[in-house]
């Protein structure tokens, strides 16, 4: 018996029609971790989550949650699981309180404790004042928070969240991040999916980048970004015409010859962009080499590798360009 809260080995899901939505995924989530699946729409994140939540069966492979096999011990898995899906799923004709209490009853939370727990969750999610209003009348952010409260009502050991901030405005997103961080600090193990790099970067202590049904790389956000190497330094050059710009770009290339941290130079319409290792330290020296040599630097910016760069490195594509190609889902397949 291992200590992992979630343990997935060689998971495969082939839908009728032949689509391999999940194509051999393996990972482990230890107690208290906040683990993120980062990947474009259609990568297989939701299917993996549906298998873990006992909503879809796997074609082959194993998935265990809290030590219970999701296929053979579904009821044990469900008792320990809190689930919030991509869009908030609420009974829109029930009030906020009724929504939480109903899910609590399905989980057999005893009466007195349910009342106390519901009060706490309403308070925690800032919904106490609208507790008696129908959930259908809630704003997007309020629906998210109510959905999360429903997922937490039975004090689950594992919280699984599919795209928890999809469709939220920036303020609501930040507020929800803080909420999720707080829940995580209290010891709940969490698995979330996202296609927002910032979200994975900020929230997760470990992420797996998933593409075409496979995990392409896994690690802490810091390690993954460090693996990319160079930072990007862009120099904006002041030039009266294209010939002058071209001359300055050639000058920059000549002046930086033999500059050890430099790994690459690309001419741009605004100047040049440079790939520089450990750019924070290298910049003063870099600017000294360019100074007083007819190169007129009027702007400088420093970009550190993002998870998008990590995604690009491992898949050859940007994460967001895939979003538009998502097929319409007509059912459960």
């Amino acid at each position: 018996m291992s200590s992992a809260v979630i343990e997935v080995a060689d998971l495969v899901k082939v839908y009728p029609g032949g689509t391999r939505a999940v194509d051999g995924i393996s990972f482990r989530i230890e107690p208290g971790e906040l683990f993120g699946f980062l990947g474009p729409n259609g990568a297989g994140k939701t299917t993996t989550i549906r298998i873990l939540a006992t909503l879809t069966s796997a074609t082959s492979g194993h998935a265990r949650l809290a030590g219970f096999d999701v296929g053979t011990h579904a009821a044990d898995v469900r008792r320990r699981l809190g689930l919030a899906m991509q869009t908030p799923t609420l009974d829109t004709f029930a009030t906020g309180r009724e929504n939480i209490e109903f899910i609590g009853r399905m989980h057999r939370v005893p009466g007195a404790e349910l009342k106390k727990r519901t009060d706490e969750l309403l308070e925690l999610m800032g919904l106490t004042e609208v507790a008696k209003k129908l959930a259908g009348a809630y704003s997007g952010g309020m629906k998210r928070r109510l959905d999360l409260a429903c997922a937490l009502v039975h004090g689950p050991q594992v919280l699984i969240l599919d795209e928890p901030t999809e469709g939220l405005d920036p303020q609501s997103r930040t507020a929800l991040w803080e909420e999720l961080e707080r829940i995580s600090r209290q010891g709940t193990t969490m698995l979330l999916t996202t296609h927002y790099m910032e979200e994975a970067d900020r929230l997760c202590n470990r992420i797996a980048i998933i593409d075409n049904g496979r995990i392409v790389v896994e690690g802490t956000p810091a390690d993954l970004k460090a693996g990319i190497g160079a930072d990007t330094v862009t120099l904006q050059l002041e030039a009266p015409g294209p010939e002058d710009l071209a001359r300055q770009q050639t000058d920059v290339r000549r002046l930086l010859e033999g500059f050890v941290p430099l790994e690459g130079l690309t001419p741009e319409s605004f100047g040049v962009s440079l790939a520089v290792r450990d750019a924070g330290r290298a910049i003063p020296d870099l600017l000294r080499r360019l100074d007083g040599n007819g190169v007129r630097v009027v702007g400088l910016s420093l970009g550190q590798p993002s998870l998008d760069d990590v995604f690009l490195k491992f898949t050859g594509r940007h994460i967001r360009t895939e979003a538009a190609n998502e097929p319409i889902s007509l059912g459960w397949y």
């Binding site: 939540a53 006992t54 909503l55 009821a75 469900r78 008792r79 699981l81 689930l83 899906m85 991509q86 869009t87 799923t89 609420l90 009974d91 004709f93 029930a94 009724e98 109903f102 899910i103 009853r105 399905m106 989980h107 057999r108 129908l134 429903c150 007509l330 059912g331 459960w332």
Partner: protein, 259 residues
Amino acid sequence: MLAAFFYETWHQGVRCTRRFFRVPANWISIIFFPLIQLFVFSQLFKDIIQLPGFKASGGGSYLAYLAPGQIGFTAFFAVAWSGTAILIEYRNGYMDKLRATPIYRVSILAGELAPLFLETAIMAGAILALSVVLGAPIKTGIGGVLVLLALSGLFGMAWAGTSFVPALLTKSEQATGTLSLLFFPIAFMSTAFVPQSLMPGWLQSVNAWNPITFLIEAIRPLMVSGYNWSAIGKAVIAIAVLGVILQSATLWAFRRLAA
């Protein structure tokens, strides 16, 4: 195990009942449609009562004849679109949320069906009250009213299968609505408007198998004459047979969708 099933069905039933009655439009259409029917047809066919063969089954006025028919109609319409609610929750993911909780999946379906007894009985009761206000008799008093409401409620639960099966199979609200129109002639062919003896031969044969006719023929005596236990017995059997057939099909379609 059975206790768990009843616990889950009860709470799911309460939730579904609440969901239904919190939509004001549900009240408006379900009450006003039969009301308009009751009012307009009792005027339009006022003199039809003069036809030979009518006196025996009617209570002396066409309103008295029509009112039980409209109660049967109401039981029919109360559940005509009942399958769409479960479909909405299937589509918006709420059913998945329930499926991820440690409950019997069949409790989800049972909780949708059980409140239909109450919904149908309440609506039948509303039409009954209005008929009495307009002058229809209710010979058997409170006991007859209870039998009438129970029969209507049971019929509603059983008949709901005609909406649930298309809903669960097509997964489309539009298709469910369109297909429900196919069942309307069954209601109009019943003895709601005209007694069987005045119908052409082939319609009489059809009505020998029409469950709505069995319902109406059981509740009409309750209003215009007295208990007709033979008719009530036939109605109970008809509803039971209908219920077993339609609900088995519903359960099959539900498992196919949500197992």
